[in-house]
Symmetry: C2
Amino acid sequence: MTVKQLSLPELVEQCVRLGIPAVGLWREPVRAYGLEASARLVRDAGLTVTSLCRGGFFTADGWLDDNRAAIDEAAALGADTLVLVSGGLPPGGRDLAAARARIAGAIAQLAPYAGERGVRLAIEPLHPMYAADRCAVSTLDQALEIAERFPAEQVGVVVDTYHVWWDDRAPAAVARAGAAGRLHSFQLADWTTPLPAGVLNGRGQLGDGVIDLRAWCELAAAAGHTGPVEVELFNDELWGRDGVEVLEETLKRFTELGISES
Amino acid sequence: MTVKQLSLPELVEQCVRLGIPAVGLWREPVRAYGLEASARLVRDAGLTVTSLCRGGFFTADGWLDDNRAAIDEAAALGADTLVLVSGGLPPGGRDLAAARARIAGAIAQLAPYAGERGVRLAIEPLHPMYAADRCAVSTLDQALEIAERFPAEQVGVVVDTYHVWWDDRAPAAVARAGAAGRLHSFQLADWTTPLPAGVLNGRGQLGDGVIDLRAWCELAAAAGHTGPVEVELFNDELWGRDGVEVLEETLKRFTELGISES
C-alpha cells in the first residue's frame, strides 16, 4: 500500500531488484490481478507474503463471508497472517463497548476457520481517532484482551507504530504479546502533523515525524519478535510521486534505522 | 469559545437573557476586553466564571511567567479553575515520556502559587491525536497520575468527552477523580466525522455525533460531580453562523440531554 501506484508485477520486480525479501499485500490489487496469478507471481519471484490486508469491518453486512474469503486468499498467497481492521460503530450507534463485544464475537466465529487454513488472525488496534468509523479497538491492551481468548496460533495482534506510539501502556503490551507468541505483525509508519482532512492518508515516511521508530523496533525485538518488519504508509504525497523512487527512499529510511535483519 | 463570534458583552447579555448562570472564558478575549473590565462585566451581570482557558504549553519559552499570569487572571475573574493544556513534544523531540515528566515538573512549580490564590489547576488530557503538537497528556489516567502528586485543592483534571470518549479506562478514572475531589472541570463536545484538516476545529454540536453524552453526564454525576457542565465546541461551521443562534441551539441541545441542574 506504501507504493500503491506500482502494479503488482512492478512491485514484485522492484522488490527483487532492491533485495526486499518479503512484501505485505492488500486484497484489492491482488483481486484485480487475480488471486492465483498473484500467488504465482510472488512465489516465482522468491518473495514471501508477510501479511494480507485486510479482514474485519465486522459491523458491515456480509462480514462473515467476506472474512472467510479473506482467510482463503491469505492461505492461497502463502501469507501466514491476515490483518483485521475491525470496524467502528454501526450506523447510528453510540455504544463502543457493544461494538467491541461484537468484534470479539465475530473473531470467535472466524478463529477456527483461520486455524484450519494455517492463517493467523492479527487484530490491529487503530489510533483512537478512528474509533467511531474504522476500528473500535483503539489500544493494544484492548486488542490483546480479545486475542487472549483464543489460541495464539489462531489470533494475535498487529503493532503499528502509527497507531500506538502515543500510548504509555503500549510498551508493556508489546512485551506481553511477544511473550505469548501473539505479536503476529509489526508495522512502521511515522507521525507527522498537521493531519490531513479525514486523517487517513497522512502517515509519515520513516524519519519525517516524531515517533522514535528505533526504540519501537528494539521493543519488538526485546519482546521476541523475529518476524518481518513492514512499512505501511498511507500518504497522498507519497502516492503522487514515482513509485520506484518512493520504494527506494523507504528502503533507505528503513535501512538507516539499523534494524537487524531476521 | 463555542460562540467566539460574540463579543464579551454580547456573550454576557445573551447568557443572562437565556438563563445560563455561568460561563467559561478564554484568556485572549478577556485580555482584549481588559481583565478588570471583564471581571466587572461578568460580576455585575450575576454570572459565575466556571473556568479560565488556558494555562499550559510547558515546553514553550516563558511558560512560567505566562502560567503565573494565567493564575492571576483566573483569580481576578473569580474563576476557581484554570484549565491546563500541557503542550506536546518540544521541537525536534521524540520522547513523550520526557515531555510528560517535564509537564509534571512544571505543575509542581505552579501548584503552590495557584493554591495561594484559590485557583485549582485542572490538567486536561487531550485526545491522542494531539499528543505530538498540543498535549502529551493523552489519557485521564495520565492526567490523574500527575494530579495525584499534589493536594486536590491545588491540582485536578478536566474531563472533556471529546478527548476521552474512546477510552475504555476513562470511566473508572472519572470515578477515581470524583472520589478524590479532583474532577475540577467537566466539558461536553460531540465526535463527528470526517475530521477536518488539522483536526482542531471539528468538535461536534451536542447530539450531532456518536458520543453517548448522557451516559458521560451520568458517570460524572455518579462520581460526585456537582459543579458546572461546560460545552466547549471548536467548530468552524458553528463559528461561521450567527452567534446568538448557535448559543440558543447549544442550550437547546444541552437541555435535551436532561442533565439535572446543580
